[in-house]
Amino acid sequence: MKRTFGLLLILLLSACAPWSAIDPDSRNIAVKQDYTLEAPVGWVKRNYDIYDVFLSRDGPLLNFIAVRREAHDQELKRSKRKTSADLLPHEIAELVIAEQKANEQLGAFTVLSNRPARIGGKPAARVHTRWKTERGLPIERLTYAMVDQKGRLALIYEAPGLVYFPKGLADFETLVKSVAFQ
């Protein structure tokens, strides 16, 4: 019995292990000797294979920030499109929108704003979208995306639109501004 309990405890602890709080004195995250960013204080970090950085403040269902760098020849998950270094910012925005619209699970998908931006000094797109879940809950997503010779980089912030999205928005915008390429 003791052994079973111990095993369960280990399993529970290991399930919780990937989350770690952002240390206020060590917020800088370096990714693959490619770029760095500063994680917001009060958020927790988790390691995911598919993301370079994955953060949440109140749990991933309530808000998350995901950062992902990919090679151009890697197809986008849903639209199956590839990217290239010569894409103009509005074309990057089109890809961001296409990728989300290709998800049939999203009801009442709307682009709230779409404008040029900069990530680490490089031209980028900033696309703010909203959709409804099957329960009618509005979800908002803000995506910053850019391309360069190394590939594409996307920074995503997603949260339910009613309370959580505005709550974490400033932290996300600050994180985007902190991105620096090495």
């Binding site: 103009l88 619209k101 009801g107």
Partner: protein
Amino acid sequence: MNMKPVALTLLALSSLARAEDILPWSHPVSPATLARDEHNLWAESEQFDRALARSGKVFDDPALNAYLQDIMNRLYPEFGGKIRVRALGSASLNAFALPNGSVYINTGLLARLQNEAQLATVLAHEGAHFVHRHSFQQAEHTKNAAVFAMVVGMAGIPLLGDIAALSSMMGFSREHENEADSIGYQRLVRAGYAASEAAKTFEHLIAEIKALEINEPFFFASHPKLQDRVDSFTELSRDARNGQTGHETFVLATKKLRLYALQEDLDAYRYKQLILVLEDTRRRREYPPEASFYLGEAYRLRAQDGDSEKSEREYTLSTELSPEFAPAHRALGIMRYRQGRLAEATQHFRHYLQLAPNALDRDYIEAYLKESGT
């Protein structure tokens, strides 16, 4: 005496008798008068309707939905509007009927039809499923109802991405499909539509499915073999009198939807579909002149040798045929901007912003104008 086999036999016999007793409805029905099982099925369908409405998936075009409803009322006049039709914002070539008389036709299928008679063919078929209570008759009724209840009832709402799967779940036997085709055809003719269009409804869709090597959409998946179906409709309509095609009415009523469907195809990178449809001059006629712009965009996405010239030709054609349509000016501006022909790019960009002062991408265009030194 072991009563169990006797009871099972009686149960089997009673369910057989019951299936035979399920007669088609001849007038609008009040769900309150239905037996428990059918009443439950009806209630779950109502719940599904509400969930769809809440999700924003129902295509928001009251004029189009009214047009669809008028056709259904013409096909099934004795139901006085109780077979309710709505367009659903989904690219898949599908339509389905729920047990409560709600009929949904996806924008993807609607946009691919050529005239009102073809649309009436689809609606008459779906209406027949409801009127003949096929979902209740279904041999696998119990299983279907249970799964339906699980998806709609327990979860409270359906999973929207599974709409197609749900309609497939509610899919009908081959016998029921044949019956719906036959009843639908009779309704089509009685309503005065051109019977010869029934077969054509499927002919060009079959060509599209084959050319694009896409999976058969659900509307067809549970149906008789496609070619058999076309042959059967062709045979049925051999001696039919000429009827109404409703081409012009259809083109006008679906103009907004067609452009929406083209944009959806573009957004989802389905440029192959777009090129296949719009390169066919017969089908191109069913689209508004702005379609040239979308074809130009499809060539741009395909990016094969010579596609840049094709894009330019289509964009230019769009500005000639529909000078007030802003996106074609934008596309020409981007093309010139990429080519370094900045003076021309500026001209097109300015024209674009004049026509679409509130364009969502205004900031991008202004940034390009700035970079062009203007």
